[in-house]
């Protein structure tokens, strides 16, 4: 894993925000930086952060596995996160998920708690369920990358995917 100079500088800036003996507090910002850069958090990324912060890699692995926002697997070109918490579930998020997968050519049959992401055969889309995205009144909702989409009913999914070339 090559960490670009500018990224390392950004990381160092974050670390400076915290007292020397509390460097570990910069763990989350650093992980976000790396996920932004590489699309996911690789084992090397975990070791890189641990070394940067002078901590054990397990302490970083704890965070990466605790927060569902961090991915340990490379996503597709566009990564979709469909909310499945109660309101969205009642609004039909499972049908939305099914429809998106059908249209994008994604097979979710091997997805598990430990491997939640499925990728389309062409690598264009990847998808996973997420917990409440804080827009419960307008479910089903989803994120594509950082774009937020509301009321993604099955019939709207085709139009949704067309926005991403």
């Amino acid at each position: 894993m090559e960490v670009p100079k500018e990224l390392e500088k950004e990381a160092d800036d974050f670390i400076c925000h915290y007292p020397q003996e509390e460097k570990g507090s910069a763990s989350l910002p650093l992980l976000h930086l790396l996920q932004r850069e590489f699309g996911y958090i690789s084992d090397d990324a975990i070791s890189w952060v641990a070394e940067k912060l002078g901590t054990e890699p397990i302490k970083i692995l704890e965070l990466v596995t605790f927060y569902p926002g961090f991915r340990q697997k490379a996503p597709g070109k566009y990564h979709i996160r469909v909310c499945r918490t109660l309101s969205c579930a009642m609004a039909g998020c499972h049908q939305t998920m099914e429809k998106i997968c059908e249209l994008a050519g994604i097979d979710r049959s091997n997805v598990s708690h430990h491997d939640p992401i499925a990728i389309s055969t062409d690598g264009k889309f990847s998808i996973e369920f997420a917990e409440c995205l804080a827009s419960c009144g307008t479910g089903p909702v989803c994120l594509v990358g950082d774009d937020f989409h509301e009321e993604v009913k099955p019939e709207n999914t085709e139009q949704l995917l067309q926005q991403y070339k």
Binding site: P57, I58, H113
Partner: protein, 571 residues
């Protein structure tokens, strides 16, 4: 505050299950309950570690005296204490400290329901494999299930599968399905031995304890995590599936792996040792011991153990009975005097054995007496660089000034044919640089050891002794503490406790020595040597007594004391 004014002694009054007790200010609620004989069940709490308060097993009901408005007198109960207002919400007893006038209920309905609830959650994903679990019989999950559990499960869904039989280090296996996520192992590794290897990955019911794939739990104190794990999640490869714990006899003893003299419990059954674990002694080893020391008992299972006394005839040894061996040894040794005779004893011997060596030397008058120096690697925790467990004993009892300093000249004088006879107790001279040529030039070589080592092979008389867990006696550790070794099992075959061998030799050389049992040796020693004055073998007690000031301190204990004074741990 209110009822009982601070008497200046810094004590506070606390009501535990309707009884008032006095405890020092700052006492944890759980410790106050313990003093009131109300044991509060707990998983994550360990007095030697910080208290994260994560298991919630120690929930109790708590109340405080009301704060009277100015001028108002508090309402008092029959004992003169302010009436307690009970809080509707339970609190954890492990991480909270008492205040004056506080009330604690450990047996109320609320407290009981809390425990039941916590137990139910803990058992949801637990595999309930007690029949094949090494922890069974000493597992707090089992114990608390009996005392505080529901007796039946309401869980209908399927259990979460987690990693099992994971090799997380060379000596330990992890079963994540049994883990109650108490984090004791995490904290021990981080706080006590500065090896922050453990962590919890994932979340919710999928949380598992683990180590990073590139890291192992392999520090020399790793097995202590097995001891403090309240369940069977961490098991020792050495003990795994070997013995049900309730069949074992437990003997309080010492580790003799180095001059620290860690206090231990030896678990044995029918003459075989199955495990050795640390016993708490806050003046010696806190509650820990090193892995190297813990595994030392395996040396007693060495297939080359000597089991019978032997006499050399020509090139071969033949087994003889004890009277013949002792008689021959005494006869041969007494042929030589002064310059011609040397005694090499061992810093692994007990004080009693050293004392009998001393009386023997008084009769035999050897030109020189020394012990073998045993330098090794120590660390900043417990392990001492002096691997002789009783050098201080050898200094005081056998008057050895500088251990090992005379060995070179002994070798030289053997070569010069000045030393013709050698009595070696508990050491292998070949291992200490002596050559076979040197030993074979001796006219008389008598040795005692537990292993058929090269020295035994060269000896004219071989006296099989007992290993450290096969005998009783006392030793003085690096900080000058006199401690007692106890016998867990019998020495194999005809081999004998070394004090008996030396006692017999003394008698053969000098007639009567006034000793009939081991305790007599100590009594004689106590009347001769001022540091043992007023003591007897039984008076040493399980935790030992300080008899010397060596000026040494124990780094691990000092750090522990600092954490206690900072209020981080109870100690």
């Amino acid at each position: 505050m209110v009822a009982s004014k601070d008497s200046g002694e810094n004590l506070v009054s606390v009501q535990v299950d309707d009884h008032w007790i006095s405890v020092p200010r700052g006492t944890r609620m759980i410790e106050a309950c313990k003093q009131a004989a109300a044991e509060v069940p707990h998983y994550c709490y360990h007095p030697k570690l910080t208290s994260p308060g994560n298991c919630r097993m120690c929930l109790v009901e708590m109340g405080m005296p009301p704060r009277p408005s100015p001028g108002e007198e508090p309402e008092l109960d029959a004992d003169g204490h302010a009436k307690i207002n009970w809080m509707p919400r339970p609190v954890i007893a492990c991480a909270n400290t008492v205040v004056d006038g506080m009330g604690i209920r450990t047996q109320s309905l609320l407290a009981k329901e809390c425990r039941q609830g916590v137990m139910e959650f803990l058992l949801i994903n637990h595999p309930l494999d007690c029949p094949i679990c090494d922890q069974a019989g000493e597992c707090t999950l089992q114990e608390y299930s009996v005392e505080h559990g529901n007796g039946q499960s309401r869980f209908l869904e399927s259990k979460v599968k987690k990693p099992k039989n994971v090799e997380i280090g060379p000596r330990i296996r992890l079963d994540d399905e049994r883990c109650v996520l108490c984090s004791r192992c995490v904290r021990f590794s981080k706080e006590v031995v500065d090896d922050d290897v453990f962590g919890f990955v994932d979340r919710g019911s999928h949380s598992v304890l683990t180590v990073h794939p590139d890291r192992k739990l392999e520090n020399n104190y790793s097995l202590n995590t097995v001891d403090i794990c309240p369940v069977g999640a961490l098991t020792s490869n050495d003990f795994r599936f070997k013995m049900r714990v309730w069949f074992m006899r437990e003997t309080k003893s010492l580790c003799t792996g180095c001059a620290r003299g860690c206090n231990t419990v030896v678990g044995s059954r029918e003459g075989k040792i199955y495990r050795q674990s640390p016993r708490e002694n806050n003046d010696v080893n806190s509650a820990w011991m090193c892995d190297t020391g813990r595994m030392e008992y395996h040396q007693l299972e060495n297939p080359a153990r000597l089991t019978e006394p032997m006499i050399k005839r020509g090139k071969k040894h033949r087994t003889v009975d004890w009277p013949e061996a002792i008689c021959r040894a005494a006869r041969d040794l007494t042929k030589f005097k002064g310059e011609q005779l040397a005694i090499i004893a061992s810093g692994r011997m007990t004080n009693e054995e050293l004392y009998l060596t001393r009386t023997l030397a008084e009769s035999l008058q050897p030109g020189v007496v020394d012990i073998v120096k045993r330098e090794g690697e120590g660390d900043d925790y417990l392990s001492h660089c002096d691997k002789n467990p009783n050098v201080n004993g050898a200094r005081k009892v056998l008057k050895i000034r500088s251990p090992g300093s005379k060995l070179k000249s002994i070798r030289k004088r053997i070569v010069e044919d000045k030393i013709k006879a050698l009595l070696v107790i508990g050491e292998d001279l070949i291992d200490c640089g002596f050559t076979e040529g040197e030993l074979s030039s001796l006219q008389c070589l008598v040795s005692s050891h537990i292993i058929a080592n090269p020295t035994a092979k060269m000896s004219h008389v071989v006296l099989p002794g007992a290993g450290y867990a096969e005998k009783r006696g006392s030793m003085i550790n690096a900080t000058g503490r006199l401690q007692r070794l106890n016998k867990a099992i019998d020495p194999p075959g005809q081999s004998r406790e070394d004090w008996e061998i030396l006692h017999e030799l003394n008698r053969a050389v000098d007639g009567c020595d006034g000793v009939t049992e081991l305790a007599d040796v100590f009594t004689q020693m106590a009347s001769t040597l001022s540091i043992f004055k007023g003591l007897s073998l039984s008076r040493i007690g399980d935790l030992g007594v300080d008899v010397m000031d060596t000026g040494e301190t124990v780094p691990l204990l000092e750090r522990e004391a600092r954490r206690v004074s900072e209020g981080l741990i109870v100690g």
